[in-house]
Symmetry: C2
Subunit: 371 residues, 2 copies
């Protein structure tokens, strides 16, 4: 609008995207990008994957207590949620289905504020059942009721596939859930805290977080890693494929990270679980082979750039390996992040202050309406 | 956790609640708290209420163009949404129903990014129909299809009540929608922009915003103003009631505002519409009488405090006056704010940068897992 007078400039400092701005305090996780370290409440992520389970890690985040024997079986889907899921078109995106399911869940459960560990347990144990139900409904299959004897991750796969996974498969996905459980003030977690800060309920906060994670700048594009591994095809073709890709100027998916300059500790933990599997799915086998080649070639071509493997590189083959289709990856990531989101809602509520930043007005100066 | 070593202190500056931190730029609205002014794209709110309509103001926010003849009739509710609304318990909170309706709507409509004015029109014209449908369903009444000849606000009341409102009633609610359409970076609008910044879709952003507005620190407690007017009972009892309330140390609801030190320009615009009505509802009549007394007594008792009427004071009697029950107030406020939320999503998408602040870690230092 060049013919319109601008308002006087607001000269207060402005950090686009709030980059480098501290928006809150948390004792849930600590990220050390230089050292390649991630810790939940002080415990290194590698130790948590090795000695714990998603249920134990979720309890640690919610309560601060470490109980490696904690269990969290999936919960049944309330009727109102199932009706809403059945009404969705089969073509609906799983993230939309999950967002809707949590919204309906919020309308039939306790909305009291501040959020409690019991609310967090109930929601975190409900969502896998809802997503699994939708995954079956869209294939024309009936949902499967949760098995109370299975822990959350095995119970999720059971409800998706209609049969319980073997121990190794459940263990691989559990490791993925542990490393995906929490990661500081990313956009979805920050959304969760902003919503909670108005004294709104846990379901509203998680519904907003799911919406934020749905964006490709946050939830990522895990199917791209799948396509890459698919293109490579077999370990012996890896070196040629990597060299050709870089020669064309294309990016290798799954390498480099905004924060981690060293090897992403989440990728390291997932690779370790993968290497320990007796019967590795073909996807994992291939991913391990390609990674070794890719790191060697990247180091050779770009010795000064810290291009290390990131978590998405291993997330994709683990998720494929346990039998999930790529269009379920973002929503499965959202299931894993439930522990962190709900823990942040509890933490925000325990020491609340409304999160309400300012905005710089850059529009037209005061003017009368045209008559 | 006093027996646990704390992590080294992060000494970067931290503004709790991001107070005073500029989180973005916008040309949509400008608030001048000292002068008691609010302008949308430079046009004073009072002029917009007088010469415009909600449809015209929404178009102004979405496109920057002023077209006082713009129309925006309510749109029909898709089948999947209606099924989900029918599945909700009658006791569900209207904000939960609206959040769910928008989530389902997002799963059956165009999710392309960035958001467009057409998407904003479609969503803003859908939501009143969905909320009205739920308002009827919970009373055991069948929903009423939208009348394409009625503009948005009259069409909303038509679908709630099953009959079209008279011109004065529609005008009063339209004024409420205009003053509620947009107000800078409040918590819900900020939520909307954070979600949009991940390149997530408009429905996800508005679903998150509804969740944020659901919190009483943001959406407020309009029923408290209703109770207050109810308690006063009649204009001649106003003075005694106001003096007794202040003598007891209780707060007068609807006076004072975080930003506006002068008379809230939204309240001024609503009062002006109310005063111009030929047949004022009893609620408005009483509110006007009580306000005059309250301002006089507040000025007498607290000459140094800027306790002026705020928008909530007039929102409540306007909403009661047009026949809405108090438990529909927050969701009706959310309908009005759709114009602003969706305009912010368009603005964010047009010049996007991921909104991702930092967090200060205040938990335990690195430690091994107990064995």
């Amino acid at each position: 609008m060049p013919d319109v007078a601008a308002a006087p400039a607001d000269t207060r400092p402005y950090s686009p995207g709030l980059e480098g701005v501290i928006a809150g305090e948390s004792s849930l996780s600590q990220i050390d990008g230089e050292a390649g370290a991630l810790r939940y409440r002080g415990y290194p992520i590698g130790e948590l994957v090795e000695a714990g389970s998603y249920a134990a890690v979720a309890e640690l985040l919610w309560t601060g207590d470490w109980n490696p024997g904690a269990k969290l079986p999936c919960q049944p889907v309330p009727d109102a949620v199932m009706t809403a899921l059945r009404a969705l078109p089969r073509s609906a995106r799983p993230m939309d289905a999950l967002r809707t399911a949590v919204s309906v869940w919020g309308s039939v459960t306790d909305p009291s504020w501040p959020a409690t560990p019991d609310q967090a347990r109930a929601l975190t144990a409900f969502s896998p059942s809802a997503l699994a139900a939708f995954a079956r409904l869209r294939q024309g299959l009936e949902p499967v009721a949760p098995d109370p004897d299975l822990d959350l991750v095995a119970g999720y796969l059971y409800q998706v596939n209609g049969r319980a996974p073997d121990t190794e498969t459940a263990r691989a996905l559990d490791a993925y859930f542990v490393v995906g459980a929490e990661h500081g003030f990313n956009a979805s977690t920050f959304t969760c805290r902003v919503i909670t800060s108005t004294r709104s309920d846990l379901a509203s906060a998680v519904v907003g977080a799911i919406g934020a994670m749905k964006g490709p700048l946050h939830g990522g594009a895990p199917s791209e890693v799948v396509e890459q591994i698919h293109e490579v095809g077999s370990p012996e073709k890896a070196e040629q494929w990597v060299r050709d890709t870089l020669a064309k100027g294309d990016r290798l998916m799954g390498f480099g990270h905004r924060v981690y300059r060293a090897y992403d500790p989440r990728a390291a933990a997932l690779r370790k679980v993968a290497e320990g599997m007796e019967h590795r799915p073909e996807w994992l086998e291939l991913a391990i082979a390609v990674e070794d080649v890719a790191l060697r070639v990247l180091q050779e071509k770009y010795p000064d750039r810290p291009l290390r493997t990131n978590v998405e590189y291993y997330a994709a083959p683990v998720l494929m390996g346990v039998g999930l289709t790529p269009d379920l990856f973002p929503a499965t990531f959202a299931l894993a992040r439930h522990a962190g989101w709900t823990a942040h809602a509890i933490e925000q509520g325990a020491n609340n202050r409304l999160i309400r930043p300012d905005v710089r007005y850059v529009g037209p100066a005061e003017r009368p309406l045209p008559r």
